[in-house]
């Protein structure tokens, strides 16, 4: 992994990436010019691709379209793309369609939401072994044990049904240098944030001296409570019990000491320290980023996926170093060695039926390979976060906002959430109401106990 080694100038970054970016844009946007000859002959094969990654931002959608176009040009295959939203896979659409026989050949998703669809998925071990070039395989190798770990509760956990192509470490910190300076803080000394004591101290300084009423935010809304910075804080106290479920998926970890301490600190940021807005029980990281852009927040946790929005709305401060990313930090005294959960954007191939099943599955993997090409990996990373190929990490560092350095540094020792078939229920639906009650003043231990009981009851059914 790339070490987090301080700021770089815009010039350094531009020098390193201009050539690569040009290659990425050229190959992605004008495949007909670059690839005059087909590499793999899949003429006559039609595959259905359900695309979710394209909803992230306009640039990712453009990239998706150009990747598909390039694939079609190279192979002669035809791809029918259906654009879907996160809600479609979290909600009923994928499940009900799959169950009813309406299935794509290939789709992209987030790694922890596909457990519910696992019976429909085709393992990719043979493709990875035999059909992936050595360089790409080497670049992705480090992700495969993580994929297996998050599927550990399945009997066929060794099967790789989810192949990562992008990474979202949860959750880096965005900071405004101008707020630090207004509060009389030396940004180079006080950032990155070291631990939660340091975080509270810095936020209080900014609140008092820079007159930012609520300089940070913890999030209560259903999709963000257990999905952003909370889990990393729990992990910093104890790796073993930091996931939602225990090692063999038989019970909830939520009554562990690490969970109680982690959630208590999360609540304290709002209730005790008054550093998070009164909207906290219903707040989201998207809203916090908006407030950050407007100068009403100083330090917020959010996905690197927000980088596209930030570049669009505050290009200047992103390029002159006023806005910088920092790694997530542990709870003070938390010595587990990791304070990060890693979400991965993955590709899945659906088991095909009929005489051309093998050909379609192969075509699906060829499309995945297109996404894994260096130029597409880098083009994705420049607009929406981190690519999955480790060998390309050096190519995405150097931006003045340091997203590449921060993101890749956070990968060291990062954990993964389980991919239990009911992971959406456990992580969002059941947890958020209890989290919101805790944020409103209910006992953290009691709420976590009630949550754990609900999860344990669900696990028995």
């Amino acid at each position: 992994m790339t070490e987090f080694d301080g700021p770089q100038t815009r010039r350094d970054f531009l020098k390193k990436t201009t050539a690569l970016a040009a290659l990425g844009i050229t190959t992605s946007l004008t495949p007909d010019l670059v690839f005059a000859q087909a590499k793999t002959d899949l003429k006559g094969v039609t595959i259905d691709y359900w695309n979710m990654i394209g909803v992230q931002n306009r640039l990712v959608r453009q990239l998706s379209e150009s990747v598909v176009k390039a694939f079609e040009q190279k192979t002669g295959a035809k791809v029918n793309v259906t654009w879907n939203s996160y809600g479609d896979i979290i909600g009923p659409k994928y499940r009900t369609n799959f169950q009813g026989g309406v299935k794509p050949t290939v789709f992209d998703a987030f790694d922890r939401w596909t457990g519910q669809l696992r019976p429909f998925l085709r393992p990719m071990n043979d493709f990875i072994e035999n059909n992936l070039d050595a360089q790409t395989r080497k670049g992705l190798q480090w992700t495969l044990p993580l994929v297996q770990d998050q599927n550990r509760g399945f009997k066929d956990a060794k099967n790789i049904c989810d192949l990562p192509f992008a990474l979202i470490p949860q959750a880096p910190v965005l900071a405004r240098r101008d707020h630090f300076e207004k509060a009389g803080l030396d940004f180079t000394k006080e950032f990155p944030i070291r631990d939660t004591d340091h975080y509270i101290a810095v936020c209080k300084e900014i609140q008092g001296k820079a007159r930012i009423q609520y300089p940070t935010e913890v999030y209560g809304k259903i999709w963000d409570f257990g999905d952003t910075q909370l889990n990393g804080w729990i992990r910093s106290l104890d790796i073993e019990t930091s996931d939602f479920l225990d090692a063999d998926w038989t019970k909830s970890n939520a009554t562990s000491e690490a969970w109680i301490k982690g959630v208590q600190f999360y609540v304290d940021v709002y209730q005790k320290h008054k550093l998070s807005s009164p909207n906290t029980p219903q707040s989201t990281d998207e809203e916090a980023v908006d407030l950050f852009i407007r100068g009403q927040k100083s330090i917020v946790h959010c996905d690197i996926l927000n980088r596209g929005t930030l570049l669009e709305k505050m290009k200047g401060p992103m390029e002159d170093g006023t806005v910088q990313w920092g790694p997530h930090f542990p709870i003070t005294g938390g010595k587990s060695g990791s304070s990060v959960f890693l979400a991965m954007a993955t590709f899945e191939i659906v088991r095909q039926e009929g005489p051309d099943a093998a050909l379609k599955e192969r075509a699906a993997f060829e499309l995945i390979k297109e996404w894994l090409l260096p130029e597409n990996q880098i083009a994705y990373a420049r607009t929406a976060g981190l690519c999955a190929r480790e060998d390309l990490f050096p190519k995405i560092v150097g931006a003045p906002d340091r997203y590449g350095e921060v993101g890749t540094a956070m990968l060291k020792g990062a954990g993964v959430w389980n991919n239990h078939p009911r992971s959406v229920d456990f992580q969002y639906n059941l947890l958020a109401p209890h989290g919101q009650k805790a944020l409103q003043g209910a006992s953290v231990a009691d709420e976590l106990k009630a949550y754990a009981e609900e999860v344990n009851a669900a696990l028995k059914t």
Partner: protein, 292 residues
């Protein structure tokens, strides 16, 4: 035509509707009842539980939160009626110009998808970025922003008010058409007898539109209680379960927990509650029709 032939003709005309009702309404309803007596996972075999889902739901910590939220949410029907009635009466006045334009403007909220309306209101009411908070503070009406969706009581009332704003045009259109059917001569006669504005409303207008009002109240009560997408967009059912109206709970059990047995159990409560709220109005309507 012979009487027996008439009877067969009636049966023939009723058959498609009856078949439609049986296949698309009663069969799924009975299937839902049956499922509510089971643990019915999305994938896998159902397991008979008897009344266990019902006792679990009645004993759940969030049961009363959900009932209270649903009752408050049902009040949006009354708000819709009040706004629709005033708007329709105003538009009936002869001095109002550009009536077609006003009618068009008034149905905009109903023409938009409820989720979009919800998202617009979410933005308008945002305590940091929203216009409403901004102007309330600018005019000195409030000193601090109100966190509408983060405070339990506000959250319940805000989803109710947003639903009222979105769906009132449906009532408006039906009441307006009933108003337009009242002959002008009745008002003129009432004026000759010296009736003032209020008396004309009570004696002429109200009796003429009573049936329309009862029908729209019945329809909107049923429609409102089944709404999921808009309140879910606004609050996600929270904070806690404070805005988890029964329809949201049903959705969460079915599609987030994959527990269709429990979802249909909640659905049965929703059916009973909807029927209890609708029945008085249905009885009044029936009585009105009987009198006519």
């Amino acid at each position: 035509m012979k009487r027996s032939e008439e009877r067969w003709l009636i049966i023939l005309f009723l058959a498609p509707t009856t078949l439609f009702m049986l296949l698309l309404l009663w069969a799924p309803f009975l299937q839902g009842m049956w499922m509510s007596l089971h643990r019915w996972p999305f994938m896998g075999e159902p397991v008979w539980l008897g009344l266990r889902n019902y006792t679990d739901f009645l004993g759940a910590a969030y049961f009363w939160d959900a009932i209270e939220a649903t009752l408050i949410y049902s009040l949006s029907t009354l708000f819709q009626l009040a706004v629709a009635l005033v708007a329709a009466l105003a538009l009936r006045q002869p001095f109002v110009r550009f009536k077609a334009l006003w009618r068009g403007i008034m149905i905009i909220s109903y023409a938009m998808p409820p989720v979009v309306v919800g998202a617009i209101w979410l933005f308008l009411l945002d305590p940091g970025l929203g216009m409403i908070t901004h102007y309330l503070m600018a005019f000195g009406i409030i000193e601090q922003p109100i966190y509408w969706f983060a405070e339990n009581t506000w959250a319940k009332w805000m989803i109710t008010l947003v639903a009222s704003w979105t769906f009132w045009p449906f009532m408006f259109l039906i009441i307006l058409s009933a108003l337009q059917a009242i002959p002008q001569s009745r008002y003129e006669l009432a004026e000759i007898y010296g009736a003032n504005l209020w008396q004309r409303f009570v004696v002429v207008t109200l009796p003429a539109i009573r049936n329309a009002i009862l029908v729209v109240v019945i329809l909107r009560l049923a429609f409102n209680l089944a709404k999921i997408e808009q309140p879910f967009t606004l609050t996600g059912g929270g904070p806690g379960y404070e805005t988890s109206v029964l329809s949201i709970l049903m959705y969460r059990f079915a599609f987030m927990s994959g527990d269709f047995g429990m979802a249909f159990t909640v659905g049965m409560f929703l059916v009973v509650m909807t029927a209890a709220l609708i029945l008085p109005f249905a009885w009044l309507f029936q009585r009105q029709v009987g009198r006519a």
